[in-house]
C-alpha cells in the first residue's frame, strides 16, 4: 500500500512538471505567433484605410447591443462612448434587464426617452417579459428595452437581437468604454470581406485607475491595486497575444462578451445566445463555427488587436473569485456541449487545436496543478522529494510564466504602448512577477471550484459585479476624474447562489 502511495505521489509530481512544461511551451508558441502578427501589423499602421471605411457607402450599419443590470455607476459613460462612435450608421439597443437601481431613470432623463410600440425584427425566445420599449427623443439613435430579469445576460441579449435593425450586431458590456474608432476598426474586416467574415473581436483592457471623461478614455493609467495589475497583465497576454495567435491559426474560440461584432443573420441562424450557458460569448463563437463547418460554408472569425474596449475588472479577490469560477463553469458547459468537436478534424483547427488546448490546460489544468502541488508538498513532507529539487522545478515554472508575461509587456511597449508613464511600466513588470508567485495558484483554486460546479451540473447563476463607474456624477464639467474609487459597501452584490 505504501509503495502504491509513493508511486502515486511521485507520478503526480511528474504529471505536474510535464503539464507545466507543456503548458508554457504551447502558450509561448501562441504568444510568439500573436507577437509576430502584432509586430507585422505595426508596419501597416496609418494605411489601414479607416477613413475610407468611414466614408464608404458599402460599410454596413451596426446595432450596438448593451445588456445592463444595475449599472447606474457607468451606464451613461458607456452609452456616451457607444453613441459617440466614429461610424457612419449605428443604433444602440440598451436592455435594462430588471435593474433595481437608477439605471433606467438616469438613461430616461439624459435621453428624454419616449415609449414606443415594440417593433421586433426577429423572434428569438426570450424568457423575461418585455415590459416596454423606449426611444430617445434627443436625436440619438438609442432604443431602450425594459424587461424582467431572469438572471441571465443571454436572455437580455436575445431581447436586444429581436429589436436590432442592422446587419451587424456589436455586443458590449454595460461597464465598458469603446474607444472612439473601435467600431470602425473592428468592422473593417466585415467591410473588406463581407462574404466570409462572420465575427470579429477586439482587445479588452482594464479601465480601473484610468483617467476618463464622460465616456472618453483620456489617459490609461495602471491601478494601484495588485489584484487589478495582475489582471492587466493577464488581459495583455490573453487578448493582445493569445487571441491574436489563435485567430492566426483560424482557431479563435472566444470573442469577449465585453466587445464583439457579429453578422446578425448568422447569429439568428444559430438561434441567438444559448440561454443556459455561463460562457455565452464563447458559446456563440463555437456554435457559429460548428454550424458553418457542418454546412461547409466558408467563414472567418477574426481578431483585431488594435481595437480597444476598456472595461472594469474586479477590484477584490471575492469578486474576482466569483467571476473566474463562473468562467470555468461556463467553459465546462461549453466543452461538454461541443464534446463531439474535440479532436475532430472535421472542425479544422478549432477541433484539433483550440478545443483540446482548452480542455487540457484551461479546464483540467487547475486539477493537475492543485493535485500536483499537494502531491509535491506531501512528498516533501514524507522525504520522498528533496526540497532543493522541488524548489528548482518551482523556480523554472515561475520563470517560464514570468517570461510569457514579460513578452506580452515587451510587445505592448514596442507596438501600442498605451501606458505612457514610466511608473505604470514598472508596475506592469512588478505584476508580471507577482502574478506567478501567488495569483496563478489562487486562480487555479477558483477555476477548480468552477469545474466542480460544472461537473455537479449546478444551475447556471449569473452574479452581478459591483461597479465603480468611470467618472463621478459630481464632477464639474471639464474636470478629469480617476476611475478608481472605493466601492460603497452597500453596492457589493452577493452571489445569488
Amino acid at each position: 500500500m505504501r509503495e502504491f502511495v509513493v508511486d502515486a505521489l511521485l507520478a503526480a509530481g511528474w504529471v505536474l512538471t510535464a503539464h507545466v512544461a507543456l503548458f508554457h511551451l504551447v502558450t509561448l508558441l501562441l504568444v510568439l505567433a500573436g507577437a509576430r502578427r502584432v509586430w507585422h501589423n505595426r508596419h501597416w499602421r496609418g494605411v489601414e484605410g479607416h477613413d475610407e471605411t468611414f466614408a464608404s457607402p458599402l460599410t454596413p450599419a451596426v446595432s450596438i447591443l448593451v445588456p445592463a443590470h444595475d449599472e447606474e455607476a457607468g451606464i451613461l459613460d458607456t452609452l456616451s462612448a457607444a453613441l459617440g462612435q466614429k461610424y457612419p450608421a449605428l443604433e444602440v439597443v440598451l436592455v435594462d434587464d430588471g435593474s433595481t437601481d437608477r439605471t433606467f431613470a438616469l438613461v430616461a432623463e439624459r435621453y428624454a426617452l419616449r415609449e414606443v410600440t415594440p417593433r421586433p425584427t426577429a423572434d428569438l425566445p426570450v424568457d423575461g417579459a418585455i415590459l416596454s420599449v423606449h426611444r430617445a427623443t434627443t436625436g440619438d439613435p438609442l432604443l431602450v428595452i425594459r424587461k424582467d430579469s431572469v438572471g441571465r445576460r443571454s436572455d437580455a441579449l436575445n431581447a436586444a437581437l429581436n429589436h436590432a435593425r442592422h446587419p451587424l450586431v456589436c455586443m458590449v458590456d454595460a461597464d465598458s468604454l469603446l474607444e472612439n474608432e473601435a467600431l470602425l476598426q473592428v468592422s473593417r474586416p466585415f467591410v473588406e470581406d463581407p462574404d466570409n467574415v462572420v465575427a470579429a473581436g477586439g482587445v479588452i483592457r482594464a479601465a480601473n485607475g484610468a483617467l476618463t471623461d464622460r465616456g472618453t478614455m483620456v489617459e490609461p493609467r495602471l491601478s494601484r491595486r495588485w489584484v487589478v495589475r495582475v489582471q492587466v497583465i493577464e488581459y495583455l497576454r490573453s487578448f493582445l497575444l493569445g487571441r491574436t495567435g489563435w485567430a492566426d491559426a483560424q482557431a479563435l474560440l472566444i470573442i469577449s462578451g465585453a466587445f464583439g461584432l457579429f453578422r446578425r443573420d448568422v447569429v439568428l441562424e444559430v438561434g441567438g445566445m444559448d440561454p443556459n450557458s455561463l460562457a455565452e460569448d464563447a458559446e456563440l463563437v463555437v456554435t457559429i463555427q460548428e454550424h458553418l463547418r457542418r454546412q461547409r460554408r466558408p467563414h472567418r472569425v477574426v481578431f483585431v488587436p488594435q481595437t480597444v474596449c476598456w472595461t472594469e475588472v474586479p477590484e477584490s479577490w471575492q469578486v474576482l473569485g466569483r467571476q473566474r469560477k463562473r468562467w470555468s463553469h461556463g467553459l465546462g458547459q461549453l466543452l461538454w456541449k461541443h464534446r463531439r468537436m474535440i479532436g475532430n478534424p472535421r472542425y479544422g483547427p478549432i477541433g484539433v487545436l483550440a478545443l483540446p488546448f482548452f480542455l487540457l490546460f484551461e479546464l483540467l489544468g487547475p486539477v493537475i496543478e492543485v493535485v500536483g502541488v499537494a502531491a509535491v508538498v506531501t512528498s516533501m513532507a514524507l522525504g520522498l522529494v528533496e526540497p532543493a529539487v522541488a524548489g528548482a522545478v518551482l523556480v523554472l515554472a515561475v520563470a517560464l510564466g514570468v517570461l510569457l508575461s514579460a513578452t506580452a509587456i515587451a510587445v505592448e511597449e514596442l507596438t501600442y504602448h498605451r501606458y505612457g508613464r514610466g511608473r505604470d511600466l514598472l508596475g506592469l513588470m512588478g505584476a508580471a512577477v507577482v502574478e506567478h508567485l501567488w495569483f496563478r495558484w489562487v486562480h487555479s483554486w477558483y477555476r477548480l471550484r468552477g469545474l466542480a460546479a460544472a461537473l455537479a451540473r449546478r444551475s447556471p447563476v449569473w452574479t452581478a459585479m459591483p461597479r465603480v463607474g468611470f467618472s463621478g456624477d459630481a464632477a464639474p464639467a471639464g474636470l478629469l476624474v480617476p476611475a478608481e474609487r472605493p466601492v460603497p459597501a452597500d453596492r457589493l452584490v452577493r452571489a445569488a447562489s
Binding site: L10, W14, H40, H43, W44, G46, V47, G49, D51, E52, T53, S56, P57, L58, S80, L83, G84, R114, V116, T117, P118, R119, P120, T121, A122, D123, R135, T137, T138, G139, D140, P141, F190, E192, D193, P194, D195, D265, L384, V385, A388, V389, A390, A392, V393, V395, L396, A399, L403, A406, I409, A410, E413, L414, H417, G420, G422, L425, M429, A432
Partner: protein
C-alpha cells in the same frame, strides 16, 4: 524526482536571465521611444508650417528637397485630405524628394509590408503611370499586398484597371469583394460601362458587386439589366438581392412589377425583404397591393420590411397599414409598429450630436 535536476536548475537560471534582459530592454525601449516621439513632434511642428507655405506658393519644392525624412510622413498624412492643385503640389514634392521613385522600386521588395506600403503610396500620387505595377500586385502572394494594390488602383482612378479589379474577385488569389467595391467606387462614374458589362456577363461575385455599385451610382441606364437579373430565377440569390437593392436606390418605377413579383413570390426571405425595401424607396402607390400581400408572409423579416415600405408610401401605404393594423393576424403588430415609427414625431438623428 529524487535526482538533483541539473538541467532544470540550468534552464531556470537561463530563463530568469532572459526575463531580466527582456524587462531591461523594455525599459530602454520605453525611454528611447519617448525621446524619439518628442524629437519627431518637435520636427513636425517645425516642418508643417513650411508645407503650408509651400501650398501658399511662398516656398518651392526645391527649397524642401533636403528637409528631414519626417517631412515625407507629414506630406503623406496630408495628401489624402487634399484635392486639386494642393494635392498636385504635394505629389510634386514627393517626386522631387525621390519618395515616389523609391516606392516604385519597393514594389518588388521582399517584405510584404514594403510592397504594400509602396503600392499605397503610388496610388496616393494619383498617377496612372504605375497601373501595370499595381495590377501585377493584384496577384501577389500576400493577401495584405493584394488588398493594398486594390485600394491603390482605386485611388489612382485609372479606368483601365477596372476589368482587372473585377477579375481579382475570382482570381486564384482573390481579393475580398468589399475592397474591390471600395476601389471601384473610388474610380467613379468612369467605371460604369465596365460594371454594366460585368452585370451582364461576369462571374457571380462580379455580377453581385456590379449590381450593388450600379445602384450606389444611381445608374438609370442599368435599370433594364438589373431588372432582368432580378427576374432571372436561375441567377444566384446574391445577384438577385443586389439587383433588387440597386433598383431601389435608382428609384426606377419601371422595375415595380419585377420587385413586386419578388416580394410576393420569391422563396428566399432575404430577397423578399430586399425587394420590399426597394419598393419602399421607389414609393410607387401601384406597389401597395404587393406589399400588403407580403405582410402575410410567415417570415418576420419580410413582414417588417413590407410594413416599413408601406409606411414610406403616403398616403396609400399608410392607409393600408391602418387597415392591417386594425385586423387580427401576424401582420397587425408589424403594421402598428411601422405606423408608430413614422408618426411618433421623433427627430431624426442629428449629425455630430455628441
Amino acid at each position: 524526482m529524487t535526482v538533483v535536476p541539473g538541467p532544470v536548475l540550468l534552464a531556470g537560471t537561463g530563463v530568469t536571465g532572459l526575463v531580466v534582459l527582456l524587462l531591461l530592454s523594455v525599459g530602454g525601449a520605453h525611454l528611447a521611444r519617448r525621446r524619439r516621439e518628442r524629437r519627431d513632434a518637435s520636427r513636425r511642428a517645425e516642418l508643417t508650417p513650411l508645407i503650408y507655405s509651400l501650398l501658399d506658393g511662398e516656398q518651392t519644392t526645391r527649397s524642401l528637397a533636403d528637409a528631414p525624412a519626417v517631412l515625407d510622413d507629414v506630406v503623406l498624412h496630408l495628401l489624402p485630405q487634399l484635392r486639386g492643385s494642393d494635392r498636385q503640389v504635394l505629389r510634386d514634392l514627393l517626386v522631387s524628394r525621390g519618395v515616389v521613385d523609391r516606392a516604385a522600386e519597393q514594389v518588388s521588395a521582399r517584405a510584404p509590408w514594403r510592397r504594400g506600403r509602396a503600392a499605397m503610396l503610388l496610388g496616393a500620387t494619383g498617377s496612372t503611370r504605375y497601373t501595370p505595377d499595381l495590377v501585377t500586385l493584384l496577384g501577389d502572394r500576400s493577401p495584405d499586398v493584394r488588398s493594398a494594390a486594390t485600394r491603390a488602383l482605386g485611388k489612382a482612378g485609372d479606368v483601365a484597371a477596372v476589368p482587372h479589379l473585377l477579375a481579382a474577385l475570382t482570381a486564384v488569389r482573390p481579393v475580398p469583394s468589399g475592397i474591390v467595391g471600395m476601389a471601384l467606387l473610388d474610380v467613379g462614374t468612369a467605371a460604369l460601362p465596365a460594371l454594366r458589362a460585368a452585370l451582364d456577363s461576369g462571374a457571380a461575385p462580379a455580377r453581385a458587386l456590379s449590381a450593388g455599385l450600379l445602384g450606389l451610382h444611381g445608374d438609370l441606364p442599368a435599370t433594364a439589366a438589373l431588372t432582368a437579373a432580378l427576374d432571372d430565377p436561375g441567377a444566384p440569390t446574391d445577384v438577385r438581392r443586389a439587383a433588387a437593392g440597386a433598383l431601389g436606390r435608382i428609384g426606377a418605377p419601371q422595375a415595380g412589377d419585377a420587385l413586386s413579383r419578388a416580394t410576393v413570390l420569391a422563396t428566399d426571405p432575404a430577397l423578399r425583404s430586399a425587394a420590399a425595401e426597394a419598393l419602399g424607396r421607389i414609393g410607387d402607390p401601384e406597389c401597395v397591393p404587393a406589399l400588403a400581400a407580403g405582410m402575410s408572409a410567415s417570415d418576420l423579416r419580410v413582414r417588417t420590411a413590407c410594413a416599413d415600405a408601406l409606411a414610406s408610401i403616403t398616403p396609400e401605404g399608410r392607409d393600408r397599414l391602418r387597415v392591417l393594423g386594425a385586423l387580427d393576424g401576424p401582420a397587425a403588430p408589424a403594421a402598428r409598429a411601422a405606423l408608430d415609427a413614422v408618426s411618433s414625431g421623433i427627430r431624426r438623428p442629428l449629425a455630430g450630436a455628441h
